[in-house]
Symmetry: C2
């Protein structure tokens, strides 16, 4: 993804385009690996060693608040992030720890009459086909 595109996207959303934010978003947009803060930090500092972890936290927080990232809370301990903001489910493999996206349709609900649903998160876990065939 080109820096130019990201800058424009940020402008649309009213986000100031700093090199840190661009690097963080670029990494997320190009690598759909649902990384946690540490992974993002380790990656962006490869190219920009001066970036601090505080700022990575900051960037992720801003980008999430403005709707460019989705927090994936499938791990107990750490929050992961996803630049694919279309609704989809996440599956985590108990063996290899890898996260997979999947599509799922809207379910039939009962018990939420009169509620305003703003965010839906669907997390499955189990064994991925790859680990199963070993």
């Amino acid at each position: 993804m080109k820096t130019r595109e990201i800058t424009n996207l940020f402008k649309e959303k009213g986000i100031k385009a700093t090199p840190q934010r661009i690097a963080v978003y670029k990494f997320l947009a190009e690598n759909h690996i649902h990384p946690d803060v540490d992974t993002v930090y380790n990656q962006v500092t490869k190219e920009h060693p001066s970036f601090s972890k505080t700022t990575v936290y900051n960037c992720l927080s801003v980008l999430t608040r403005r709707g460019l990232l989705i927090p994936v809370k499938i791990d107990n301990d750490k929050i992961r992030y996803d630049a694919d903001t279309d609704f989809h489910g996440h599956f985590i493999c108990e063996k290899c720890g890898k996260i997979f996206d999947f599509r799922c349709s809207e379910e039939k609900l009962s018990g939420l009459d009169g509620f305003e649903i703003r965010q839906r998160d669907v997390y499955y876990s189990g064994i991925c086909s790859c680990c199963k065939n070993k």
Copy 2:
């Protein structure tokens, strides 16, 4: 829920019945409030002041591992627990922070062929009907 029932349940599951574990499970089974560790700790120490937080962590961990509790990871920061292990969704209200259970049917999936699904978690958030009518 009677202590006797809990003891039997534990025996079935191969869990040693200590007073701490019984108190923790009893609280969860009788109060479907999806409490976090701290809430559980504060509640059980009202009756058993000597219980330590380490042990509460321990109990919750064992009971979860043996399938008597479900971890609810709808909050960013803390893990909550639920003694209702039948599949159901959780809704958290952004205003009042309360968590609601809801029933939802199995969705149509694509992208998980050959995967073994062991656990499904569905988390919604938004505004509950109570907060909406204010």
